[in-house]
């Protein structure tokens, strides 16, 4: 009925090898797969390009991997409306290539060749979240195949829309536990005429972040690296002059350039990657955490720390004394001892949402917070 291919070790999700890998090439086929899985009681894990498939916990079971990469069409690009609708398996970079021809972009950064669906399912975002927000802010409509195989949508293809619940935000970052994302519509932005980066030496990062954040210069991103380097991005028709103003504001040791520093938008190295949801002023404290390399979106207060397997338990415990900290990925042997997701308020509500959407707990079981 649909393409499936021989299962290889590559298809394993955090060590759990599926019995089947199916590659639906239409939304209808994807729905048919989900329906069969529903009827047969099979557990399902969706995947795109697999760039973040090692994020989160291992599934408790995985009968079927649904590989979305053949769902790769641009359904509609309404350039005049700055809106695009695409299938979930389309690589974000391919989408950007299409949009570039009309001087537009989806303002979401990813250091990996992720699919659109993968980016939405993991709620991953990069430096420019400061100005444009993240997938939840840019997503205006979504089509999902429910656990029972029903195709359902929420939102639409206009930016301004408050008809019905906004389930797009709920699916964003749900790690395949609520349904199979098959299509998404996004609000687009014009490509800026100029892009300029300003980077500083490692001195006085907190003061510099503050200066940029409270300036009138509207940076698209303010990033910090573990050695105290602060870098900012300016975009627009007058980005060069704004970058020069930023250099003057930041003082000695600041320079402007047309290209970003090498570390820009990349996760810090390490066997273990942590993500901390905090505030801009957490920077000073986070820089003092030992045995971990900090990098983050200082203007938004979203921080990543790379650390070793050995140091991870201590670093995680230390961070959680102050801030919500998620272990994005870690070697499997650490999964038992590290609570990957950490505590969160409203977990009981989350469980009840899961129970409604996936009463048999067949969708990416165990991948998400609290064993959801």
């Amino acid at each position: 009925m649909f393409d499936s291919r021989p299962v290889t070790d590559e298809d394993a999700v955090l060590g759990v090898r599926p019995r089947y890998v199916v590659e639906p090439s239409t939304v209808a086929e994807a729905a048919a797969v989900m329906r069969v899985a529903h009827e047969e009681g099979l557990t399902v894990v969706p995947r795109g390009n697999g760039t973040r498939v090692h994020w989160g916990a291992a599934p408790r079971a995985c009968d079927v991997v649904i590989d979305t990469r053949k769902l790769d069409r641009v359904v509609e690009h309404a350039a005049g409306d700055l809106v695009v609708t695409v299938e979930a398996g389309l690589p974000v970079r391919s989408l950007q290539d299409v949009l570039r021809t009309t001087g537009q972009q989806l303002a979401l950064d990813s250091p990996f060749p992720s699919t659109v669906g993968g980016l939405v399912a993991t709620a991953a975002a990069g430096p420019r979240r400061l100005l444009y927000g993240t997938a939840r802010d840019l997503l205006i409509g979504i089509t999902v195949v429910r656990a029972d195989g029903t195709i359902v949508k929420s939102g639409g293809k206009v930016v301004k829309n408050v008809a019905g619940y906004d389930l797009g935000k709920l699916y964003t970052g749900s790690f395949g536990t609520l349904g199979l994302i098959v299509k998404a519509s996004f609000r687009l932005h014009p490509l800026p005429e100029q892009q300029m980066y300003v980077a500083t030496d490692g001195r006085d990062p907190a003061r510099r972040v503050r200066a940029l954040l409270h300036s009138h210069l509207v940076p698209s991103a303010i990033e910090v690296d573990g050695d105290g380097t602060v870098a900012a991005l300016f975009e627009g028709t007058a980005a060069r002059s704004r970058a020069e103003e930023a250099v003057a504001l930041l003082g000695a040791g600041a320079t402007a350039a047309g290209a970003p520093p090498a570390w820009w938008g990349r996760y810090p190295d390490g066997d273990v990657l942590l993500e901390v949801q905090g505030k801009p002023t957490d920077l000073t404290g986070l820089l003092t955490v030992r045995d971990a390399w900090l990098r983050g979106s200082a203007g938004s207060g979203v921080w990543f720390l790379g650390t070793s397997a050995e140091a991870a338990p201590r670093v995680v415990a230390k961070l959680r004394e102050h801030l919500p900290t998620v272990v994005r990925h870690a070697p499997l042997e650490l999964h038992e001892t590290l609570d990957l997701w950490g505590p969160t308020p409203a977990l009981s509500l989350m469980r009840r949402v899961k129970d409604q959407f996936d009463p048999d707990h067949r969708l990416s079981p165990g991948r998400f917070i609290g064993g959801i």
Partner: protein
């Protein structure tokens, strides 16, 4: 039952926080949508999250429906009370609890007035970006319920993009926080759920830096088509204005009669285009905007010289809804969305509808994002006129749907548009949305009858996990 609840509430909240006198109850019989009315069975004015939680728990225990209300400025009847239920009014919860400019955020109670947030943070160089027309009186809690927008959401987004976390009282009367930890983005589902998923008791909002420069242009056009072409040209040039507003001749006439805003008298349409941001950006883009308007056929352009001038330009637009009262005894404020590029076609269709039915329609809209606010005029003294206006108003929504748009861009579904929702969504779509409601509110007592035309039976009430380790941080 309500009498007993009133006693319980008086004991706990104090007598001044409970209203059950029929005359005083009538004050709360509608929100901004005045043709839906129902006197609430009981009104309570809690002063804290704990009191809200108490009220909700008592209602749930008694099986009594309850509805939350902020300032009552909503335009879809989202806060329409239940005669057999309790209206929870948040107007006593109006403290600004924290202003943290270093982290660009503030924490407020739900009854705080939208504009008061901006006033409080202005000394720090900040403001709160979502600016619904009612911002002088509407509450942040109501904004959260409705995911309110405003003229400037073209560039800055809606309430959902500016709220970082909410403390809520769940429909079962528990206090919890959304948006303050990992897991599902329940905050994203809660904002804009029109008060059907709980009552917010504390909101952490994102603050936006006051822009260095603002430029405002009023451009007059010989037709709505040429004005529409100017909008397309501006957006097509890669410019994201802070706001692009359009008014047609009838709306201009009304605004002129009401506030003497001095718009060019012979204009068939005016555009208000506002740019803000760093001076250098605004200067270069504003020059292009003026050129594009001229090329599209603008015969007059006025640039605001200062804030007073700017306020005058905006005065006509901001007063437009109320101003229509000057040229018509009654009117319906419609709220629909179309893809911006469909604007000329849809306006021609609305014009045709108007001529065929003899019902006058004044058009005011957020042209930048295709959000139409047609004002459908009628004389309520004339028999059948209201029904005819209602038909035209509904037909405009059909036009929006036919063009791939939405039946509401910012006013919400409430009671007013629940019957239109199935024209946009399938039964399965709506059923899926209501799965969220069932997760939050299995007995369906929290603002029931709003948004969805047909309530979904939640079936077996999910296992209560009280006492299980929940990981609550607070």
């Amino acid at each position: 039952m309500l009498r007993r609840l009133a006693e319980r509430f008086r004991d706990r909240l104090g007598p001044e926080s409970v209203i059950d006198d029929p005359v005083r109850l009538r004050t709360y019989e509608c929100d901004g949508l005045t043709y839906h009315r129902a006197s609430p069975g009981l009104v309570v004015l809690p002063g804290s999250a704990e009191e809200v939680a108490f009220v909700v728990r008592e209602c749930v225990e008694a099986g009594v429906p309850y509805v939350a209300r902020g300032s009552g400025t909503g335009l879809s009847g989202g806060a329409l009370p239940r005669t057999d239920g309790v209206l929870v009014v948040t107007s006593r919860m109006r403290r600004i609890l924290e202003v943290d400019p270093d982290n660009q955020r503030a924490v407020v109670e739900p009854g705080v007035i939208n504009l008061d947030v901006s006033k409080a943070v202005r000394p720090h160089g900040y403001y709160y970006a979502p600016d619904p027309s009612s911002q002088q009186i509407c509450s942040i809690g109501g904004n959260v319920a409705e995911n309110s927008g405003g003229a400037h959401c073209l560039k800055y987004g809606f309430t959902a993009n500016h709220v970082l976390a909410c403390e809520i009282v769940t429909p079962e009367g528990e206090i919890t926080t959304l948006g303050d930890g990992p897991g599902y983005d329940l905050l994203g589902a809660f904002i804009g759920a029109e008060g059907t998923l709980g009552i917010t008791t504390k909101i952490t909002v994102r603050l936006t830096r006051i822009p260095q420069a603002v430029e405002t242009l009023l451009a007059a056009f010989p037709s709505v088509e040429t004005a529409g072409a100017a909008v397309s040209a501006i957006i097509g040039a890669g410019i994201v204005p802070a706001a692009v507003e359009m008014m047609d001749a009838l709306a201009i006439e009304a605004a002129e009669a009401a506030v003497a805003c001095g718009y060019p008298a012979d204009a068939a349409a005016v555009l208000i285009v506002e740019l803000d941001g760093p001076e250098t950006e605004v200067a270069s883009q504003f020059a292009r905007v003026r050129l594009l308007c001229e090329e599209a056929g603008a015969f007059e352009q006025r640039v605001a010289r200062d804030d007073a001038d700017r306020a005058l330009i905006w005065k006509g637009r901001r007063s437009a809804f109320a101003a229509v009262g000057r040229i018509s005894p009654a009117y319906i404020v419609q709220d629909g969305v179309i893809p911006r590029t469909a604007l000329p076609e849809v306006l021609a269709d609305i014009d045709r509808l108007s001529r065929e039915s003899g019902v006058r329609v004044a058009n005011v809209f957020h042209a930048g994002d295709g959000n139409l606010h047609p004002l459908v005029l009628f004389d309520d003294a004339e028999e059948g006129a209201g029904e005819r206006a209602e038909l035209v108003s509904g037909a405009i929504l059909d036009l929006c749907i036919a063009h791939g748009g939405s039946i509401t861009g910012e006013h919400g579904v409430g009671v007013d548009k629940a019957r239109y929702l199935p024209r946009m969504f399938t039964e399965a779509d709506l059923d899926t949305m209501q799965m969220v409601r069932c997760a939050f509110d299995p007995p369906n007592l929290c603002n029931p009858g709003k948004v969805f035309p047909t309530p979904r039976l939640c079936g077996e009430i999910p296992r209560v996990r009280k006492g299980s380790p929940d990981g609550e941080l607070f």
